[in-house]
């Protein structure tokens, strides 16, 4: 695991919890460049986009998270809810 990558993910969690969703997206985009095949990056992106009501982007992000980890329950729940809307 890349230490910088882990820091970025942690930072994105922090931004999401402090309701700074745009900032979260910025750091997640950086994290994505370091490690493309990490479901958590896309899950957090989904959460941030969904919180900003950018539903199309949120759906795409959850789908990517599920592609990497089909067992990602939370991502599936969010995606199902968004598809229903």
């Amino acid at each position: 695991m890349n230490a910088v990558f882990d820091d970025l993910i942690e930072l994105s969690d922090f931004y999401i919890l402090s309701q700074k969703f745009e900032e979260a997206i910025k750091v997640l985009k950086k994290a994505e460049k370091i490690e493309k095949m990490n479901a958590k990056v896309y899950y957090n992106l989904g959460i941030a986009y969904e919180a900003l009501n950018e539903k199309d982007n949120a759906r795409d992000a959850y789908r990517l998270a599920l592609k990497i980890n089909p067992e990602f329950k939370s991502a599936q729940e969010h995606l199902d809810r968004l598809i229903e809307e």
Binding site: L17, I47, E50, A51, L52, S74
Partner: protein
């Protein structure tokens, strides 16, 4: 408690009768067609097989005691006109008539209809409106001039308190509620959020990115704020 009489139980009439009953209003449902009436039994307060163009029969049924009538007669505009005339003569306060064309609507107005509705057209206009401005989720019409909208807080308003924004003075709209996604940490280490609704937000409440505002105002003012 308001009482409604619904005349004509086609798709529109039966839906409205059902919806009003679900809201616990007293509803009398009338149609000539026995099957349609049977379907409404047990759903509305009373369902009756009757030719609604028969004024005497309507009077005997006590229709004149109702506040509002909804006339939904489908294709037959003559029947709608006759029924509207009869209902207004009986003294009903509000007669709402479903209509398909502008010409018919003029005649129905002359006959005394208080409100003419074009369900298909209204639905289409609503849909077109929501497609044209995807930011807006919903619009509730309160009167011809005022309504409530639900919209994503425009970027210009973010990170400011309601006092700073002065939405009422500047735009003539009131914030009834704010829908906000509240993030939290889950046990498995992932973050998630719950939706919180702040009803009647205070002057110190600050708007944050992603907030959905529920605003009340005149259509003109709401239109202005949508364009921010």
């Amino acid at each position: 408690m308001r009482q409604f009489v619904v005349i004509g139980l086609g798709r529109f009439g039966s839906s409205i009768a059902r919806a009003l009953s679900e809201k616990n209003f007293e509803v009398l449902a009338i149609d000539e067609n026995e099957e349609r009436v049977k379907e409404m039994e047990g759903i509305v307060s009373q369902a009756v097989v009757l030719d609604a163009t028969d004024e005497k029969a309507l009077r005997e049924l006590g229709v004149s005691d109702f506040d509002t009538a909804i006339v939904s007669m489908g294709e037959t505009v003559e029947d709608s006109i006759m029924i509207t005339l009869a209902l207004k003569e009986m003294g009903l306060k509000q007669v709402i008539v479903k209509c398909k064309s502008d010409l018919h609507s003029k005649i129905l107005k002359k006959a005394g209809a208080d409100r003419i509705i074009f369900p298909e057209r209204e639905m289409a206009e609503r849909l077109a409106e929501s497609l044209a401005s995807p930011k807006i989720f919903d619009f509730i019409e309160l009167s011809k001039t005022h309504g409530i909208i639900e919209m994503i807080a425009p970027k210009k308003l973010i990170n400011k308190t309601l006092t700073e924004l002065k939405l009422r003075t500047k735009y003539g709209v009131s914030v009834i509620a704010i829908k906000r996604k509240l993030p939290y940490s889950k046990k498995d280490g992932t973050t998630d959020f719950k939706e919180e609704i702040i009803i009647g937000p205070g002057p110190d409440d600050e708007l944050i990115s992603g907030d959905v505002l529920i605003l009340l105002g005149s259509n003109v003012d709401l239109d202005k704020i949508e364009k921010l």
